[in-house]
């Protein structure tokens, strides 16, 4: 995190060599990087080639209405070697939670980095932006909105880290007192990479940064702006418990036989089928586990509005509201209207009976 502007012109390959890193170590690093970016091993030589020539970009990290969980997640990234290498090779010029400087000094650093790396720097955002009253969240007296718009103006790209920045997240949940919105609701003219999750998987954050560092491009994104390499498949599709779903074997409660046998958690409200993230493969805590592996259904935290999705413990196929009552009232109302309509029908029919002219043989022809 030291500011060494002279190093910005050197490539990552040069930097590594100057640190005495062997080619073999570099290859190992590339393999780990490929794994981290969820790229196939066949990409390793390409990555090696790209990394060799990569130049370290300047990164400005903006934290708005957030809980610092995302930063916590990032700093808990367990691939320490890789992480340190990556972070040694980027220039994190502004991160008000992590940086030593504070107040005006910090803001000065941000402005300086923006000026020096005009149109080349990367903006990372965590947290949503309050649109109701700017006073809900300010930094050094600057509203989140102003800071975002100002910083984004000359950014090469924006990476939103966490569901709050990507989709509004928990601040955006009903009733959304601060009028929280996502970065993409404000910034329309810059490429935005959404790294959603509450928090996002650390490896996914570093993976996306590495991608930008390595290739200098925006990865392939899904319709919600999330990198397809990590968000291309649903939790459900990659879940090791999927075979139980297909067989129709479900845990019915958290402590039943099915739960102990590791059966599918669909009935306990698992949002895996509608959630796109890499948890099932990348896992958490250095590949130790992920929520479903620990026996808890996925809550769908990487999806927009996950907090208002009708309850974490209600299966997706279950209506969010009480239909039984609706059905009973409707049946009663329907029967009442039906009886009324039927009565009208009967009245009509008996009127027809009264209007009946006896048919005689003289009435058979016109």
């Amino acid at each position: 995190m030291t500011k060494d502007l002279s190093r910005k012109d050197t490539t990552l390959g040069d930097a590594l060599r100057s640190k005495g890193i062997s080619r073999r170590s570099f290859l190992k690093f590339c393999a780990a990087t490929a794994s981290m970016m969820a790229l196939p091993p066949s990409m390793i030589p390409t990555i090696a080639n790209a990394l060799e020539k990569a130049r370290r970009p300047s990164v400005i990290w903006l934290s708005f209405q957030e809980c610092t969980g995302c930063t916590e997640s990032l700093t808990r990234a367990h691939t320490a070697t890789v992480e340190s290498l990556i972070f040694d090779s980027i220039s994190l010029d502004y991160h008000h939670t992590l940086q030593a400087a504070a107040g005006h000094a910090a803001e000065a650093a941000r402005e300086a980095a923006m000026e020096e790396n005009k149109d080349k720097y990367l903006v990372v955002v965590d947290g949503s932006i309050p649109m109701d009253n700017p006073g809900y969240s300010t930094i050094a007296g600057i509203s989140n909105y102003d800071m975002l718009v100002d910083t984004a103006k000359h950014a090469a790209a924006i990476v939103t880290v966490g569901t709050c920045a990507a989709f509004g997240g928990i601040p955006h949940a009903k009733p959304n007192p601060t009028g929280a919105v996502a970065v993409s609701d404000i910034i329309k003219d810059k490429p935005i990479i959404n790294v959603s999750g509450c928090p996002p998987i650390p490896v996914v954050i570093t993976g996306v940064l590495t991608h930008f560092l390595t290739f200098g491009t925006i990865p392939d994104l899904d319709n919600l702006g999330r990198p397809k390499t990590f968000f291309g498949q649903s939790i459900h599709d990659r879940c090791y418990r999927r075979p139980f779903y297909d067989k129709g074997l479900f845990a019915e409660s958290f402590d039943d036989e099915g739960a102990r046998e590791g059966w599918c958690l669909y009935k306990l409200g698992c949002k895996g089928p509608t959630t796109y993230n890499a948890c099932a493969t990348t896992k958490w805590n250095g590949g130790v586990s992920f929520p479903i592996e620990s026996g808890h259904p996925c809550i769908g935290c990487s999806e927009p509005n996950f907090w208002d999705g009708g309850g974490f413990y209600k299966a997706i196929s279950i209506p969010t509201e009480n239909l039984t009552q609706t059905a009973i009232y409707s049946a009663a109302a329907g029967a009442a209207v039906g009886v009324a309509a039927g009565t009208l029908g009967r009245i009509k029919k008996s009127a027809a009976g009264k209007a009946h002219d006896k048919v005689t043989i003289d009435d058979l022809e016109k």
Binding site: F167, D222, N223, L224, S234, H236, D237, Y245, D246, K247, G248, F250, Y266, K267, P273, T274, T275, Y276, G300, E303, P304, N305, F306, D308, G309, G310, A315, I316, S317, I318, P319, T320, E321, L323, T324, T326, A327, S330, A331, A332, A333, G334, A335, A336, V337, G338, V339, A341, G342, T343, G345, R346, K349
Partner: protein, 219 residues
């Protein structure tokens, strides 16, 4: 509206609206039918209307051999898609959860692979049935908008369900939302089309069996 919002809407207000129209419509129509009443039969009975009516409710499910031969396609295709619909609607685990939430009763599910295969067979059968309806002189003659609408709203949830299960083309929340919305379309259209036969068939068969049974013939 985000896709999650759409899904949440479908699972919430969407289901409320559809349920009101579906249940209210069905109750209304059944009440309307029953309220019309029937005159009592003054002729001396030769058999029991009640027991014969009840038997016909079930026995009419199976045609006699000669009728089967004459209407082999209609009967076979009808069987396949009705059984297919039953299996797909009532024996798929997520659907059972829905009914459990609604009715507070549950029953075992079939493996999703079986449901998957059944839905393919059902979809294909329904397509063949449509082609038949368009080609067969009698069916084409009898068919009106109701028949095609009924067909469409029946096959739609099958297709959207199949796509949602396999996650083709769109993201899962959108696909599931579309599937649920297509079911709601079915529910809304249901009481006002020939789909009502799913309920009135019991009345109709009972009346048929009762009329005939009173005269001593098991129909």
């Amino acid at each position: 509206m985000t896709e999650t919002e759409l899904l949440t809407w479908a699972r919430g207000p969407g289901f409320q609206i559809a349920t009101v129209i579906f249940v209210l419509g069905i109750a209304l129509r059944i009440a309307e039918i029953v309220m019309m009443g029937r005159r009592g039969n003054l002729a001396e009975p030769k058999g029991s209307a009640m027991s014969s009516g009840l038997r016909t409710v079930f026995s009419r499910t199976v045609p006699d051999a000669s009728t089967f031969k004459r209407s082999a396609f209609t009967v076979t295709a009808g069987y396949i898609f009705h059984i297919g619909l039953f299996v797909v609607i009532f024996l798929f685990a997520p659907h059972i959860l829905f009914f459990k939430d609604l009715l507070h009763i549950s029953w075992p599910a079939l493996p999703s692979t079986v449901i998957d295969a059944t839905s393919v067979v059902t979809i294909i059968t329904l397509i063949v049935i449509l082609v038949h309806r368009l080609k067969d002189p009698v069916k084409r003659f009898l068919s009106n908008f109701d028949d095609y609408l009924g067909w469409f709203v029946t096959i739609l949830p099958l297709v959207t369900g199949y796509i949602a299960f396999h996650r083709v083309g769109m993201s899962a929340p959108s696909l599931i939302a579309i599937h649920i919305l297509s079911v709601q379309l079915l529910m809304i259209v249901f009481p006002f089309t020939k789909l009502m036969h799913a309920f009135t068939i019991f009345l109709a068969r009972w009346y048929n069996g009762a009329i005939s049974g009173y005269r001593g013939v098991q129909s």
